[in-house]
């Protein structure tokens, strides 16, 4: 399951807003942080607002803030706003026309897809906040290892 650029941008944005739902974040801040144009980001944020995940705040210091449910909203919920349901391999070929090779490869690709979807469906934004916290924590000093020349 390869995510489109807009989907990744939506996930980055939602996670930035969800870090503190009481805080408004300017779209320009997100655009600069992830190296995208504000115009490009605006389309993504507008879709998230339409879905009720974020809301725009007007005026000085305006921007967007998270209004979804952190413990209910999953990565998959955000992904499905931007991605068509995936169909493994077999591009443009009807099942009847597909060769055994295509069908066998499709079976493997769809296995990978199912695992990816189950993973995205099981991770809520609350869980992601925890993972982000772990990534942000100072890394532990690496364990001392002894190496011996062969």
């Amino acid at each position: 399951m390869k995510l489109q650029k807009n989907t990744l941008l939506a996930l980055y944005s939602v996670l930035e807003f969800a870090a503190d739902p009481s805080r408004h974040v300017a779209a320009a801040t997100i655009a600069e942080k992830y190296g995208v144009s504000q115009h490009h980001l605006a389309k993504v944020l507008s879709e998230l607002a339409r879905a009720g995940v974020v809301e725009s705040v007007r005026g000085v210091g305006g921007g967007y803030r998270f209004v979804g449910n952190l413990r209910r909203l999953t990565l998959m919920d955000v992904i499905t706003l931007f991605e068509e349901p995936t169909q493994a391999g077999n591009a443009g070929t009807s099942p009847a026309e597909a060769t055994p090779v295509v069908r066998a490869l499709d079976a493997v690709l769809s296995e990978i897809d199912q695992m990816a979807q189950a993973t995205f469906k099981s991770i809520t934004l609350a869980t992601m906040r925890r993972l982000i916290g772990l990534q942000a924590a100072p890394a532990r000093a690496p364990a001392r290892t002894s190496a011996r020349a062969a």
Partner: protein
Amino acid sequence: MRPVRRGDLDQVIALDATVTGLEKQNYWRSVYRRYGAGQRKQSHFLVAVAGRRIVGFLIGEVRDWEFGSPPCGWVFAIDVSPQMRQAGIGTQLLQAVCTLFRREGVRKVRTMLSSDNTLILSFFRSQGMMAGSLIPLEMDLP
């Protein structure tokens, strides 16, 4: 949180039936014989109690060298009454069994569940569990 008692079994069976839609009397009596009330070392059948009601349960055990893995704790059943969810009961059950596992010398805990069981998958994810080094495989027998 406490170890299960024989008198809890009917409530455990009823709770499981509420969640799964199947009443499995024989299965649960057999599970109780194997894991209940300190029957086996390093096996734990815990219940969460509110007043006199059983509102959740968890079963786990330390398994040695299964699938070639060093001893680790396995959680293979957990359920919380639907009316009592989102109150931290599952978290307390998992923490209780992890404390027991730590005392028994293991430093890893595992579980396995259906990929479409989003609710319980989300719960374990929220507790810090992630995909591990084992990949489950299966096939239909002709």
